[in-house]
Symmetry: C2
Subunit: 339 residues, 2 copies
C-alpha cells in the first residue's frame, strides 16, 4: 500500500487522537480573538484551501469577516494596518515562506496571533501567542491528506470555541471521517470520465474550498490538469472555453442552489464537457454523466470534508491508472523554499 493510501485511511484515528487537546487549544485561541472585528489568515497551497473553508464557516457561524493575507504585502519595509484584526497563520511545516513576516507585523501592532502547525518548535509557532497543534504526525507522502483534515478539524474547533452555540457535527467528525475513507477506498469510481485532459472542479461556499483542495490533490498525485472555480465565477466567463475531452466535477453543498447548478451543467454540456456531480444523499438526483453520492447525511461543513476525502481517493486512483509515483509527486518538494 502506498503511504498516500495509508495516510488517507489514518485520518479518522488522527482526528480522534487530537480532539480533546485540540479543543482546549482552540478555546485559548478563541479567548485571544475575543473582540476582533476581522480575522486575517496567512497560508499557502493546501493550507490556503483550508483558509477558504474557514472564510465560509466563520462567516456562516459567527458573521466574522476573514481576509486572506497576500504575503507579498508583508515583505520588506511594507507595513499593513492590522488594527482590529486577529491573525492566524497556517503551515504544516511551520516553515512556509512569508508567514512569519505576517505574524511579526501583527505582533508589533499588538494583535493576537495564532499559528496552526504540526511543529511546536517551528519559527511560526515561536512567533505566535497561541499554537493550535495539528498533531497529524509526520507526513510521508508529499501530497497532504491527514494534514488537511486535521487543519479542517482544528479550524472547526476554533469556530466552535468562538461561537455561543455548539458547532453541530464536531463531536462525531472522527468517526464520520473514518467511515467515509473506508467507503471511498471501496467504491467504483467513474474513472473513464475523470482520467481526461482537463478536470474543472467547481463549488460554492465551503464547496469551493473542497473543489480547490481536490483539484490540487488530483494535480499533485495524478498529473491530470485540474482547475477549480467558485461556481458563479466559472459561469461569469471561464465556462466559454473549449471543453471537448474535459470533465466538470461539481461539488454540491448547501451554498450551491439548484438554479445555479442547472445553469452550470447546461453551460458545460454546451462546451462539450462531460459532467460529474458529488452530492449529499439529502440533495435531489442530478441529470449528469455520473453522480457520486456520499454515504451519509451530516451538517454541510462535515459533508464537505467527506467530499474532500472522496477527492483524495479520486487523486489516488487516477495516479494508479496513470502509473505515477504516488508518494513522491514528481517535481514537488514539501516546502517551497522561495516565495
Amino acid at each position: 500500500m502506498t503511504k498516500f493510501e495509508e495516510e488517507i485511511r489514518s485520518q479518522g484515528a488522527i482526528l480522534r487522537a487530537r480532539a480533546l487537546a485540540g479543543a482546549s487549544e482552540a478555546r485559548r485561541a478563541a479567548e485571544g480573538f475575543r473582540g476582533i472585528t476581522h480575522l486575517v489568515v496567512a497560508a499557502r497551497g493546501s493550507s490556503d484551501n483550508a483558509a477558504i473553508f474557514l472564510q465560509y464557516l466563520a462567516g456562516q457561524e459567527l458573521g466574522l469577516l476573514v481576509a486572506l493575507a497576500a504575503p507579498s504585502l508583508y515583505e520588506g519595509a511594507h507595513r499593513m494596518n492590522l488594527s482590529g484584526a486577529g491573525v492566524l497563520a497556517i503551515s504544516q511545516s511551520g516553515r512556509s515562506p512569508g508567514m512569519v513576516e505576517v505574524l511579526t507585523q501583527a505582533n508589533q501592532q499588538g494583535c493576537t496571533t495564532v499559528a496552526l502547525t504540526n511543529y511546536l518548535t517551528s519559527s511560526l509557532a515561536e512567533s505566535s501567542d497561541v499554537v493550535l497543534e495539528l498533531r497529524a504526525g509526520p507526513e510521508e507522502a508529499v501530497a497532504s491528506t491527514k494534514t488537511f483534515s486535521a487543519t479542517w478539524h482544528s479550524l472547526a474547533q476554533l469556530v466552535d470555541a468562538m461561537s455561543t452555540n455548539n458547532l453541530e457535527g464536531i463531536e462525531d467528525l472522527p468517526e464520520v471521517v473514518e467511515r467515509v475513507a473506508a467507503w471511498a477506498l471501496n467504491i467504483e469510481l467513474p474513472l473513464d470520465l475523470l482520467d481526461v485532459a482537463g478536470l474543472t472542479m467547481v463549488g460554492r461556499g465551503v464547496g469551493y474550498a473542497v473543489a480547490s483542495e481536490v483539484a490540487l490533490k488530483v494535480r499533485e498525485v495524478s498529473g491530470v490538469r485540474a482547475e477549480s472555480y467558485a461556481a458563479p465565477d466559472y459561469l461569469h466567463g471561464p465556462v466559454g472555453a473549449d471543453g471537448a475531452g474535459c470533465t466538470l466535477v461539481a461539488v454540491i453543498t448547501d451554498e450551491l442552489e439548484d438554479a445555479v447548478l442547472f445553469e452550470l451543467l447546461q453551460g458545460c454540456r454546451g462546451s462539450q464537457m462531460a459532467t460529474v456531480v458529488i452530492r449529499s444523499p439529502r440533495r435531489a438526483a442530478v441529470d449528469c454523466d455520473a453522480e457520486i453520492v456520499l454515504p451519509e447525511v451530516g451538517p454541510n461543513w462535515v459533508e464537505a470534508l467527506c467530499a474532500v476525502i472522496l477527492g483524495q481517493v479520486i487523486a489516488l486512483r487516477l495516479g494508479e491508472i496513470r502509473g505515477r509515483d504516488i508518494d513522491t509527486s514528481p517535481g514537488l518538494s514539501k516546502v517551497t523554499l522561495s516565495a
Copy 2:
C-alpha cells in the same frame, strides 16, 4: 474590424475622457473612507480581477488591508460584522448578482459604501453613498476590455486620493495605454507557443491580477483553456501536473523576484511545458522559449496594465486563428443571472 479590437484601441481615449471627473469622484470616495481600518470589496469575474489589483495597490501604497467579499455570506438572514470597514462594490452593469446584498448590510451598519459602475441608475449605484462612474460607454463585445482598464484607472485614482503622496504614473496613464494598445496590435506574437491545449498564466502581486485577467480574456475570446495562479501557489503543488503540450506565461512585475521566476521556469521545463515571459524593459532578459518585452518603462502598476492590454491582444489573435466568433464569446452572456 471586430468590436473587440475597436474597444481595445479605444481604451486610451476613454481613460483620457474620464480622468478629470473620475478624480473628483475618487476624492469624494476617499473622504468617505477616511478612518476605515479595512476595505471589503465585492466583485465577480473581470471586476474581481480588478479587485485583486486594488488589494495589492492599496496594500503597497496605503498599507490598507483589502478583503475580497464572499457574496454567499451576505445572502438571506446571514449578517456579517463589517465594523471598521469601508465597502466597495464593482460591477460594470451594476446588476451583478449578490453585490447589492453586500452594500445593503454595509449601509445598515453605517459603513461608507461606494459603487464602481457604468450605470448611475443601477441598483448598485442607488445602494451606495458615493458612485465612481466608469464612463466606459456601452460595451459591445461580450468580453470586457475598456471596462477593465477604466476600472483599473478608477481604482488607481481612489488609491491616489486616499494617499498622502501622489500616485506616480496616474497622469500619463491614458497616453501610455493608447501607445501600448497600438504597439500590441502591431507586433508579431509567438502564437505557436500560445495556441495550445492549456495555458498557465502566473504572476505575483499586481502581476497576479494581470495573469487572472488575461487568462479569463483568453478563455472567453479564444476558447483556449487558460488558468491563472499566484506564482508561489503554483510552485506549491500545481506545477506537478503533466504539462506536455501546454505553455506557461509568466507575467513579471516587481513583486516577482528572479529567484522565484527561476524556480518557476525550471519546474515548468521539468513538466514539459513551453515557457513565455512578459516583462518590462527594466528587467533582465530571461532564458525561456519566447520573451515579450513591453515597449516602455513605467511604474510597476502602470506596466501591469500594459501587460493586460497585451493580453487582450493575445486573446484576440488566438481567437482569430481559431476561427472563433470574437464579439459574442459563445456560451456567455454579459450578466450572469443567477449566482
